[in-house]
Assembly symmetry: C2
Homo-oligomer: 245 residues x 2
């Protein structure tokens, strides 16, 4: 038995997120696990670094699983890709120590949130970018982004579905790039609360619009109230870029 680590790229549009759930549409974990079980010829369980929500994409999701059959590691991506639908692709595979765990060993993650800030939407990227047609003030957004960096109590940036008690998190980096009418927000941190990035983005948009003031933002970042933060930006703008170990 070997422990195998994979890097996955997927288009989350047609899935109910990563995690297998009862009585739901198909999930990425389920489709991947079924493909890997065909390869392995016996049941196995796949663990991901992070459970992406419905509609969220990945360029660099990391998973691991135990493989019984003998196949050279470098042939694993092609072998799996033949068994996967075209919206899930395995980019790389490694053999890792048996104790490696994709989730518990992850030290950090990097995400990208894309906003298309033009009057008219773009057809070819419509499933991967949030179309926001109103004028944005990038100076104000950059000033607000600086406030998010560092360690804060992000309780106000967590959807109510979460059971988590400790809502203190650290954002290591938070930048925005502008290109051809697109804004790419890239954020990295040790870990993120449920919907945290999407609420941060929604809050930035409301700060730009003047609906949320900087003094309110400061209070929000000190364990403030969810209802005073911004809306939850749509899932399809979000992509998991990289997992750090």
């Amino acid at each position: 038995m070997r422990n195998i680590k994979l890097v996955l790229e997927y288009d989350g549009t047609n899935y109910s997120g990563w995690q297998i759930q009862e009585n739901t549409d198909q999930t990425i974990q389920q489709v991947l696990q079924e493909a890997l079980e065909k390869l392995n010829k016996s049941p196995l369980k796949v663990t991901a670094a992070g459970r992406t929500d419905a509609g969220v994409h990945a360029l660099g999701q990391v998973v691991n699983f135990n493989l019984d059959i003998n196949i050279p590691v470098k042939r694993i991506p092609m072998a799996i890709n033949r068994l996967l639908p075209s919206d899930i692709v395995c980019r790389k595979a490694w053999e890792v120590p048996l104790e490696f765990h994709a989730r518990f060993d992850a030290r950090g993650k990097k995400y990208r949130y894309r906003i298309y800030n033009q009057q008219i939407p773009s057809v070819f990227i419509r499933n991967y970018i949030f179309h926001y047609r109103y004028k944005l003030n990038l100076d104000i957004i950059r000033r607000a982004m600086a406030c998010f960096k560092g360690t804060h109590d992000f309780r106000a940036f967590c959807s109510s579905g979460s059971q988590i008690k400790d809502t203190v998190r650290t954002i290591n980096d938070f930048v925005v790039k502008e290109k051809n009418g697109e804004l790419w927000f890239e954020i990295s941190g040790d870990s993120f609360l449920y919907n945290m990035i999407r609420i941060i983005i929604g809050t930035l948009l409301e700060i730009s619009a003047g609906k949320i003031k900087f003094d309110v933002l400061k209070a929000l970042l000190d364990g403030g109230d969810r209802s005073l933060a911004g809306f939850t930006a749509p899932a399809h703008g979000l992509t998991l870029l990289e997992v750090y170990y």
Copy 2:
């Protein structure tokens, strides 16, 4: 009554091409016409510069139609986009002279054919690019592309479904750009035969693989036999970029 010209962008993945057909799945013309009839509150007919095939995309398709209602031209794109599905978008609208005809007045067209020349496919562009994993010889491809330029009898580069007698066409420009593992073939000409660009691309790939020799290519470009040319590259790699008037 005014004559209105539109520039359209569409993702052809879920359509049976441009033209309305009986007993078929939905077409772009049909969906657009239904949206415009809602706007116009009475029937109308839309004419396109070119009839794209099933799976072919457009960044700059041009259409025209006669509009009865009074609406400022600059408000037309937003008004139509509200009535269209997310895979068809109107980018611009103009009022043009009543005699303007999107198809008969077109003097030329420019298309892009995208090839993803990497071992492992890319999830997010999978519907817009042909994944070709075998090694390509770009020097040979560029030499062959030069042979296509100018006026030739392209009979060998026309699918048998076509009724057209005059198969002489002129290719004004044909270039290839390489970027991040993608090849973008851009071709412009006065007009193109049925499947002509896709057969040209298939032929280039077979020339690169050494299956079609340069002396055969020369004969093909002089009204040669379809069976000696390359395969028809898949529709989803092709995008109509621009129509010249």
